[in-house]
């Protein structure tokens, strides 16, 4: 049982790490939101499932926390995306001449 729980904890932490890594690697805000939201949501859910396997008597409150994360995380991300969209920021495009360019040309328009 504990091994299974640890497996879920490990998967959760791995996805949280991936999400944070994506946050660093992605070239513009929209893509950072994509990487951050998806990976970290699944990571948090998997982690909480692991905790639930360790302490089955906590299931009710863990369910509330998991449901809350699942419902609010995309809302928060979309509200940031909407804010920068309304501020007129366009999505990043790969420069045609330099396919490996990781610079986002429109980045300094906002704030």
């Amino acid at each position: 049982m504990r091994l299974l729980a640890d497996l879920f904890l490990l998967i959760g932490a791995a996805f949280a790490l991936l999400g944070a890594l994506g946050l660093l690697r992605m070239p513009d805000t929209y893509n950072r939101i994509q990487a951050g939201t998806k990976a970290v949501t699944l990571g948090a859910l998997s982690f909480i499932l692991g905790i639930g396997l360790l302490y089955p008597e906590w299931w009710a409150k863990l369910l509330v926390i998991a449901g809350f994360i699942l419902f609010t995380n995309p809302v928060g991300s979309s509200s940031i995306a909407r804010a920068i969209h309304l501020a007129g920021i366009q999505p990043w495009q790969r420069a045609a001449s330099d396919p490996q360019a990781l610079k986002a040309p429109q980045e300094d328009k906002s704030a």
Binding site: D6, G12, A13, A16, I69, I84
Partner: protein, 88 residues
């Protein structure tokens, strides 16, 4: 509960994830980027607080995690509305 080596690795990975998020928070370069990383960090920490509850064996930290998550969400939405330009 004492942590076995695997769980120590898990805790370390969560810590590194928060640090990477912090790096983006510091690097920016724009306000929305910082809000995104604050959002990501807060979700990781919410999950981490449930882990802390398990480690210390106290269900009290689950309430902390829940309230922390709620406050973080409200904060992120408020910040997003603040930087929102254009349409009135």
């Amino acid at each position: 509960m004492t942590l076995n080596p695997l769980e120590l690795i898990v805790a370390a990975m969560l810590g590194v994830a928060v640090l990477l998020g912090m790096l983006r928070l510091i690097l920016g370069p724009t306000a929305p980027d910082r809000i995104v990383s604050a959002d990501t960090i807060s979700v990781i920490i919410t999950a981490g607080l449930t882990g802390l509850a398990a480690w210390l064996g106290s269900a009290l930290y689950l309430d902390v995690a829940l309230i922390y998550g709620i406050l973080a969400f409200v904060g992120v939405v408020a910040l997003a509305r603040t930087i929102e330009g254009g349409r009135q």
